[in-house]
Symmetry: C2
Subunit: 312 residues, 2 copies
Amino acid sequence: MGEFDLIDRIRARATTRDDVVLGIGDDAAILEPPPGKQLVVTADTLNAGVHFPEATRAEDIGWKTLAVNLSDLAAMGAQPAWCTLSLSLPGSDPKWLDGFLDGFLELASRHGIAIVGGDTTRGPLSLGVTAMGFVEPGRALRRDGARVGDDIWVTGALGDAAAALQSLFAGAALDRTLRARLDRPTPRVEAGRRLVGLANACIDVSDGLLADLGHICARSNVGAEIGLDALPASPALQRFSPAMRQAWQAAGGDDYELCFTARQELRDEIAAAMGGVAVTRIGSIVTGQGVRALDADGNEWRPPRTGYTHFE
Amino acid sequence: MGEFDLIDRIRARATTRDDVVLGIGDDAAILEPPPGKQLVVTADTLNAGVHFPEATRAEDIGWKTLAVNLSDLAAMGAQPAWCTLSLSLPGSDPKWLDGFLDGFLELASRHGIAIVGGDTTRGPLSLGVTAMGFVEPGRALRRDGARVGDDIWVTGALGDAAAALQSLFAGAALDRTLRARLDRPTPRVEAGRRLVGLANACIDVSDGLLADLGHICARSNVGAEIGLDALPASPALQRFSPAMRQAWQAAGGDDYELCFTARQELRDEIAAAMGGVAVTRIGSIVTGQGVRALDADGNEWRPPRTGYTHFE
């Protein structure tokens, strides 16, 4: 298969939307933004061996490539609409591409997001997406809105992806549900939509809770205190020792849960509004700067590292 | 420098626009599309050793990364507005990044396009852009509008980039103007804007004239005949033998000129409308399918290859 066969293969399988005037197959796509909305745009690239283990199945790479981008839209409270997909592939492998599209398009159809363009080049395996969505004007969830006294919340459970990754590296037997959390993270799109008008600040947990909550603090010019014991753990994670588990929960990356802050008066409203997604209060926004994680005795806990960062 | 230092370095230098509500630094950007316009979106990635020689200067890589994306917006007749930039870098090299940004931002400022987001990852050198622009509803230049009897036109001159690339590979001395055409292509943004309402179909010449004009023919369900002798050549290209020159002009890629079709009655209007950009009539749209290139004797000429395609 040549480049254009690959593109045709993607086009043949990609679903479209009424607001896509012209999709894949021209120099660019033509789209109709809805009147009266703001456009939310994010871009994330996954590289083999950096963002996923080389041995990851094509289906799972496809899912995760879109999931990490949808997670960024979710953290803004945006409704997904369109994306571009840039594939850099070491060779032409229709079977791999079909598997990749299986995973990518399965998640895309759940959120009604259409691939409208992109490109296909030869090179080391790398998958780039730019995702676009909409939000009501002035209502996006940002990092800079946290206020002293706010509760700090997270959706779902933390630490599963880090546990899976570390088990893989160690060659240990790996629980299937943990592996699924690493390979097929759930972007909290619906939860993010429901937080519009409720949350003061929001971010997705991709680099690790302490690091990501630290971004909220830095942009909002506040500090945060969280309780290690309050961090939500999945049943699978509870089988690990507290020390390992808490390090993964507080500092592990790749969970793609939402961490958000909200006024204390909204506790009941938030618990009721989330539509089946679990939410847990884990701490408070305080004056000062930086994030302090406290153990059961009230002592400050410091992680072995505070989140994944490239180039260090 | 870590990942966040790299991002801060980009943010510190990136210019913004009034319609950027929130730019680099959150989970996603928030943008205000202008009312009553359609959004035009394109994505192109450049990989080291595939899309540019490994030895290319950082400044030139920066320029070209944006130029190839602006060229796609130009081919739609769109006005550039915003872009995301995904950098995959083998290491953290502030000097390289500054050079890259010098070239990228020099071209960005000429066209008023703002970087609104993106990401920075570790990996083999690869530069991905998704560019966004606007066009009046229903007025975008597409590939599918060519009509039998249309003139076929190109902007500027063809073959320079291919001549430069082949000379580089051959280790031959290289004319400075040819090298500049390879490293610093001029996206024909203003020409594309002026063609709105005049051209029936348009594409940018990135894979080679015959291949790209072939895309117009396929999408418009027509054929094309062009005269080899009519293809515009720069003074630098005219120093090569006709056989080499014509192969580069007809089948070489990377020129980023616009190839467009228009009704014959519009010849004078088009010549007058282009604002200093040279345009040359090179042939006609005919019934049938495919592109026929005719030499001075009226014989069909076939290129050694019909344009660059990955995976073949």
